[in-house]
Amino acid sequence: MFLRLTHPSLEQLSRFAEAADDDRFRMRLAAHLERCQRCRNAVAFLRRLGGAVERLPAGDAPRGLRERILSDRTAGARAILPTADPVRVAHRPALRVAGVLLAIGVGVMLFARGPEAVAFGASGELVLRPAHPMRGATISVTYRPGGLLEGQRPLVLRARYRTAADEEYNSGIATHTVATLEGAGRTRDARFTLPDSVVYAVFAVEDTAARIIDDNSGRYWELLVTDGSGKPLFEALDQRGHDMMGRNWEEGFATAQQMIRDYPNRIEAWSRLRAFHGWTGTLDDSVAAFHRAKAREFAATFASRADLSDIELGYLAWYAYTAGDSTLAAEWRARLMREAPSNEFAVQWRLVEILKRLWSMGDTAAALDAFEALWPEAATRSAQVARYAGGIAWRTDNPALIRRWSERLIRHDRDPRATSRAVATRYTRLPALRAEGMTRLRNAVAALDTLRPEDRRLGETVEEALARQDAARRAALAALGPALLAEGRRGAGLDTLALAVERGWDLALFRDVAAARLEAEDTIGALGMHALVAADPRNGAAVIDSLMPLIRSSVGDAWWRDRLHQAQDAFRARMLARTKSRPVEMRARVEDARGASYELGDLLRGRTSLVVFWSRFCAPAVEALPLVDSIAAILTERGTQVLSIVEHKPSADLDAFMREQALSMPVYHDVRQEAGHAFNQWGTPAYYLVDAQGYVRFDYANPVDELIAQAEALRLEAVALGR
């Protein structure tokens, strides 16, 4: 249906062009087209587009993909596939945007909500005064321990500090020991001074051995620097949003809404809000239209201003682009390029132009020259520019070019040590740079022998940090080994590979080392690695079947059986080495759909369990449900129980949703919020592997492949302990 005075949409005209609609619709459209040249042109375009679709390049799968699939499959690789359609995320009524202003009001409420003192809370209470400090303020701290740190003395206050220049996500942001909390009574106290550059900080409390950490159920405690009136600085809110990336999408969203409320004239705030609308699944058509209108409103205001800053110019071009107004985006992008070509968004678009010319012309040298010319202006986009230029430099096999761009990437990337290791690994594959790569890897291995305090992430115990560092060390050794073999140093190479796999459980590493050993004609060493791979429950019998000819011709069945038995023991021991062991309060209660109440102990004691926290209103949690349900089926078959917990009360809507999804895992309702606190859970989705004694041994923000193996290791542990 369309009014006589308006034009049909391209989508409607597309149906006409395809003759895809009923006669009455086509007749009305045809009558309109007789009068309207504009729409006739549109139909002509759509017909040409249809022809172009027929001429799209065939683009067959690349050579070698088939062999890689079969090889990886035979080596034991597996993947869980989404065989069910995703589900639609329900929107919390308060967040459904009839107008964005309503959401802003709700955002304030969310932002202001703090953790409640409830029974079974393992976390303590931390009070920071002043609660709304200015830059460089001296802060008094009072901490009352909860169950986690009761009786521990003294305690340590650690922080992650953010300045206005820090980026999204938390990798590469250093942590600091801020103060020692001391006191003879129920509370512990301290004072410290915020560095002037800090605009946002999060805190956790731990024992002096860094084995027990109170992170306030994952929320941490936080300070936002204010302007003296109690209003957080824009930069403080901005950094809070960055800190929430990957931690809690709802809080990030709430922060974006707070930015709008407090700074409605800052276009960066609207651009951030648009991004969060996309990430949280709340970008429906009315919200998208709102953002386009807002972008046009800013454009009208900015067009009349003579004092427009480069930042405002860049953000408007970006906001118009992400809002989907291509005409407005093109106009402001052109102005950005003329007036502020060094702005971060301009640099990014200039980078894209270089890549487009490279794709169309194929001139690698010209592309690298262009990147070299762009480099002095790269500023905050330096890592991005270095990454792309480095990728092109690698294609040239020119060691000088490769080295130049690799060193730049290391200097500017957010985690220089990890980047340096990755670069060094690549160096070892190029003969001209191999020696340099090997030196870097040796230095990296030596450096990873020591845990620096600033490298231990906030909320991470010493054991967890050491385990993470050890994994990086093993990867560096696994890269160094083949490099030594390539240099003809067989003994040193094989010894290094042995070091790489002597601890930890990394299937990909085992396969790589098996291949390297086989290539070095160390068949027995290679089969030893294959035994580890075969012992992993994620691999099927096909792995062993494919190896039998080699086994029988080289070592015999008896040797293999013995090795496999050792590998199965090693699987359990290594998988469970250095895991956390956090008790769950077993008296916390949940309810089933009929309202019957259960203590967590009734549900968890005596069995290995995967507990899944999800929410009907959380897009990432809902999207993961089909995959989680597939994993649940595998775990249940192997003897690990899976149960899920939602925050909502039972309802007809939730019942209908559960039936529609045919989820196999039982659902319990955390109506009193006791289970969330018992697990120290904050945000969804959250996944916890609990052993038979009721201790959380692994937790995840996403369902990972290792989860299946870790559950199996816990189950085997329970069997061995007779539980």
């Binding site: 375009f45 799209l56 683009g59 690789a77 596939l81 989404p82 995703p86 990336m245 985006a329 991005q384």
Partner: protein, 182 residues
């Protein structure tokens, strides 16, 4: 790799038999299914993601996981359609899970706005580049509707949106393509 050469694949074997054998872990059956469907799935994934590298990873994961996933194939509708839907879901999951930074997509070809031309043929390569430049949600609907032939209802189910939202996104995709291609 013993027993896995393409020559060993018997093209006269029925698809049902291949599915049965692949489900049981037979690598030659898996290879045969790849030979029959791999290219088409790669093209679909590439068009949805706008990236050949991403399509390579997705098709790899699809076939690596296929034998176990076949346990959930209920033989409703054609196998091709079922397999393509799994590939489409994988591609859409990949698009959703890409790490969010304030970066223009690598293949963005949001170039100069074209004057509207009414008579020039649009080359397939030009359309290919223009598709890669579309925002993910718009490209997904265009590819699924105009190339892969899904209905708006089916697209809505795959993307977790309404029929109406699918139509609106298609409209915006067509507008953006018209800006880019004239």
């Amino acid at each position: 790799m013993p027993g896995l050469s393409a020559d060993a694949v018997d093209t006269s074997v029925t698809q049902a038999e291949l599915i049965r054998r692949a489900r049981a872990g037979d690598p030659t059956a898996l290879a045969a299914l790849y030979d029959r469907h791999g290219d088409a799935l790669f093209r679909a994934c590439r068009r949805l993601t706008g990236s050949a590298a991403d399509a390579d990873d997705l098709v790899h994961d699809l076939f690596v996981g296929l034998p176990e996933a076949l346990g959930r194939y209920e033989e409703r509708g054609t196998f091709e359609a079922w397999l393509e839907r799994v590939a489409v879901r994988l591609a859409l999951m990949h698009l959703r899970s890409k790490r969010r930074r304030r970066e223009v997509p690598l293949e963005a070809a949001a170039g100069t706005a074209a004057r509207y031309r009414t008579d020039e043929r649009i080359e397939g390569e030009d359309l290919d580049r223009a598709l890669a430049s579309l925002p993910d949600p718009l490209r997904a609907v265009f590819v699924l509707k105009q190339i892969e032939g899904y209905s708006h209802r089916e697209i809505a189910k795959l993307l977790g949106i309404t029929d109406g939202a699918s139509r609106v996104r298609l409209n915006r995709a067509l507008q953006a393509l018209r800006e880019a291609l004239g």
